[in-house]
């Protein structure tokens, strides 16, 4: 009888996606008419799903969220492994993965500040309105820099040679995720600790106004141009005020993806032979379920939570 037990790797955390948003064209580098913008000091919008952006990337692109969020320690960027269990019990051979990074790699398996994109092309392929994005390639990579001997990776690419925009939509239906409910998700609200979206951005606006009053000091400390700093803060305030409901509604939105990673052989290093000599099955489909949600259009970060199931042979 086949053993259906799986190694369940749960992960969660804040990700960053500097996404272009409709009605900006999706190759708009700076952002103009959508609710997401690259400020003058920031790099171009890139649409990459970055689960663990580099320090350098964050230094350039993570905006000051304001003292409240920092004090509450609510912003710790990075999607990390929370647990590695079998039947709900901690699985010793895979414990070194806990705290490790979960990343989605690009087609060339590159690590760093690249990855698959949220690719919508403003209703030509999909849409940012309800986070309806097919994720392709889907190459999940789990490793802990403190324990480099353990590594899990598996890829599922819709087509080796054909780019997403050329594929008929029925090919990637399971990659679009489940449409979000009309009402905000309680799970997302709990994950990000925000229950009053209006006050969340009201507080943000007040924080930015505070930063605006302090630009002289900030300019002296950072060497940045004072006028540029002022205008960047004004732009952030404009976006929060103008896009009001649109930007608030994304905070409670949750889109769930649920599919099997298959069509390639998995890579498992350091935990191939586990307790009782059981081996993880590299050929069988690996179910994965996760959600993206809680997107903060001002900081361009959101929350991800999910689990990868790796069956035993």
């Amino acid at each position: 009888m086949k053993n259906w037990e799986t190694l369940d790797i749960a992960f969660e955390g804040y990700f960053m996606c500097r996404l272009t948003t409709d009605p900006d064209p999706t190759d708009e580098k700076r952002g103009v008419s959508g609710y997401t913008l690259a400020l003058a000091s920031e790099t171009d919008l890139d649409n990459y799903i970055l689960l663990n952006p580099s320090e350098e990337y964050l230094k350039k692109n993570l905006r000051k969220p304001g003292p409240r969020l920092i004090e509450q320690n609510k912003l710790s960027l990075g999607v990390k492994v929370k647990s590695a269990t079998v039947n709900g019990a901690s699985y010793a051979p895979a414990q070194n993965l806990v705290g490790g990074m979960v990343n989605l790699l690009d087609r060339d398996f590159r690590t760093g500040d690249v990855g698959p994109m949220f690719e919508g092309r403003n209703d030509i392929v999909a849409s940012d309105d309800n986070v309806e994005f097919p994720i392709d390639p889907f190459i999940i990579d789990i490793r802990n820099p403190d324990h480099p001997d353990q590594h899990i990776q598996r890829k599922d690419v819709l087509s080796r040679d054909i780019p997403l925009w050329k594929l008929p939509p029925d090919v990637y239906q399971d990659r679009l995720g489940v449409p979000p409910a009309a009402e905000p998700s309680l799970e997302v609200m709990e994950a990000i600790g925000v229950y009053d979206f209006f006050e969340y951005f009201n507080d943000r606006a007040k924080d930015i106004e505070g930063l605006l009053k302090n630009v002289e000091q900030e300019a002296a400390e950072t060497g940045m141009d004072k006028r540029a700093l002022e205008e960047m803060y004004k732009t952030r305030l404009y976006v929060i005020e103008f896009f009001g409901q649109r930007i608030r509604s994304r905070l409670g939105m949750q889109r769930i993806w649920n599919f099997h990673i298959e069509g390639s052989k998995g890579l498992v290093e350091g935990i191939e032979a586990g307790e009782n000599g059981r081996r993880l099955d590299l050929e069988a489909p690996w179910p994965v379920t996760f959600w993206f949600g809680g997107y903060d259009g001002d900081l361009m970060i959101g929350y991800m939570r999910g689990a990868l199931q790796v069956p035993f042979e």
Binding site: P23, V32, P169, E231, M232, Q245
Partner: protein, 459 residues
């Protein structure tokens, strides 16, 4: 508010017949298109961060202007949609034609407000303020200084480029003896006619259309985009439409802090002056030639791109015409619903944001080939040569209903070929890599739009 009480001013132009009302609505459709294009054209000439001649602080200011100007243009599209819904509600055909740029419309002759394709400069913004200006009594308390606005006759060009004599295009209403002096006056006269405040027999029972075939029955734009469209099938819904148009545009009956188009452009004008004080050489836009044409743009690549733009833009207008003329709600099981859905899914976000805007932005950064100027789209409507001859009442004409799918596939196919040709030319002529990249992306999108359209009409 009752449009008939208090009674309209004695000197206000009066619409007495259904025919005059239809003409006034067609004029309104032309006006909304002309205004929208003036604003969009100026917006796509604005510089972005990291482009030459603009500081990071200025780039932020200019981006907010572009965002606001595009928002105003989107609301002009909303007005255009509401005007067409009003026509359809009355049982008339939708109307999506307009004269080519540049032109001097008799509409605003007393203000000397030409419709020009002009880069974003102070003169253009002053003109935008004047386009959206409410009547003087609505300006009381706003603190706006009217002496800021352009003097009565055209001042010398800021960039020194000559302007050809403007074509004088008399609006339809004027040809019927009605002379509107402002956008506000036009819409208020339409509203008085719809409510038949003067009791004319010919203005009774105006709404004879089929409500279920009117767009937005079960298709709404995302309200989060600040676009509010709805079916106009009765006097109350027509009043709601006109009140919305006047509130958004001129700020009529709005709260003092309401961001009407007039208020937005007046504010931008003030910011422009402040930016100039900080930097006398401040130049927010690429030096795009005034009223781009085949005379003042000579660069072959730019000319090819302009032709591609015009054909794509015309295709989009045909799509809107088809969408409004043959709208079928999702709940309807007629076979035409597939084409209606295909048009709905193609004409808006894909055509407007993924083809026309990026192409316009590419063109405004291309040398014109003549003098220090850059090229720009000239927004010509180029009627399809295989379609019935334009008529006075219907200058853009669609083929019979059963031929529509092939017609639109042919138009998208034309865009595909033009895109490929421009892409090849770009490589051959050594255009900057960024131009290749955007053109490659655009060609991919047209190709996928074509596949999507086919899928919709056969599903």
């Amino acid at each position: 508010m009752d449009p008939c009480n208090p009674p309209p001013p004695q000197d206000a132009p009066v619409i007495e017949t259904r025919r005059q009302l239809v003409s006034a609505l067609q004029d309104a459709s032309e006006l909304e298109q002309l205004l929208m294009i003036c604003y969009l054209h100026a917006a796509i000439t604005l510089k972005k961060a990291n482009e030459p001649g603009i500081s990071p602080a200025e780039a932020e200011i200019v981006r907010r202007w572009e965002a606001k100007t595009m928002m105003v243009a989107r609301q002009e599209m909303e007005h255009l949609g509401l005007v067409n819904n009003l026509l359809i509600g009355m049982g008339e055909a939708p109307y999506f034609y307009r004269p080519d740029f540049p032109l001097q419309s008799d509409f605003f002759d007393h203000l000397d407000l030409p419709f020009r394709l002009e880069r974003y400069n102070k003169r253009a913004v002053r003109r935008f303020v004047k386009f959206e200006k409410p009547d003087d009594r609505h300006l009381e308390g706003t603190g706006f200084d009217l002496s800021e606005l352009e003097p009565k006759r055209t001042q010398p060009m800021l960039t020194g480029e000559p302007e050809e004599p403007l074509a004088l295009v008399p609006p339809r209403s004027l040809r019927q003896g009605i002379d509107f002096q402002s956008v506000q006056q036009l819409y208020q006269a339409i509203q008085v006619a719809i409510n038949n405040c003067h009791g004319y027999d010919d203005l009774k029972n105006l709404f004879r259309g089929t409500p279920s075939r009117e767009p937005y029955q079960d298709f709404q734009f995302n309200f989060e985009m600040n676009i509010f469209t709805f079916p106009v099938t009765s006097v109350p819904t027509a009043n709601a439409a006109i009140n919305l148009i006047l509130k958004q545009g001129e700020g009529i009956d709005a709260q003092p802090a309401f961001s009407s188009h007039f208020h937005i452009f007046a504010e931008i004008l003030e910011e422009f002056k402040a930016a100039n004080q900080n930097n006398p050489d401040f130049e927010p836009a690429w030096n795009v030639v005034l009223n781009p044409s085949k005379e003042n743009v000579t660069d072959p690549f730019a000319l090819e791109a302009m032709d591609f733009f015009n054909d794509s833009y015309t295709t989009m207008v045909y799509m809107l015409l088809g969408f409004y003329a043959y709208f079928s709600p999702v709940s309807c099981d007629q076979s035409f619903r597939n084409v209606s859905t295909a048009l709905q899914e193609t004409a808006f976000a894909p055509m407007m944001t993924m083809i026309l805007r990026p192409l316009g932005e590419i063109i405004t950064r291309l040398p014109s080939g003549k003098g220090p100027y850059f090229a720009g789209p000239n927004w010509d409507l180029v009627p399809d040569k295989d379609q019935p001859e334009p008529t006075e009442e219907s200058p853009l004409r669609l083929p019979p209903e059963k031929e529509l799918p092939d017609f639109f596939l042919k138009r998208i196919g034309l865009m595909e070929r033009q895109g490929d040709r421009l892409r090849e030319m770009s490589k051959k002529l050594g255009q900057p890599p960024d131009v290749h990249k955007r053109l490659d992306f655009m060609c991919e999108n047209i190709s996928r739009m074509n596949a999507n359209f086919r899928r919709f009409i056969t599903s």
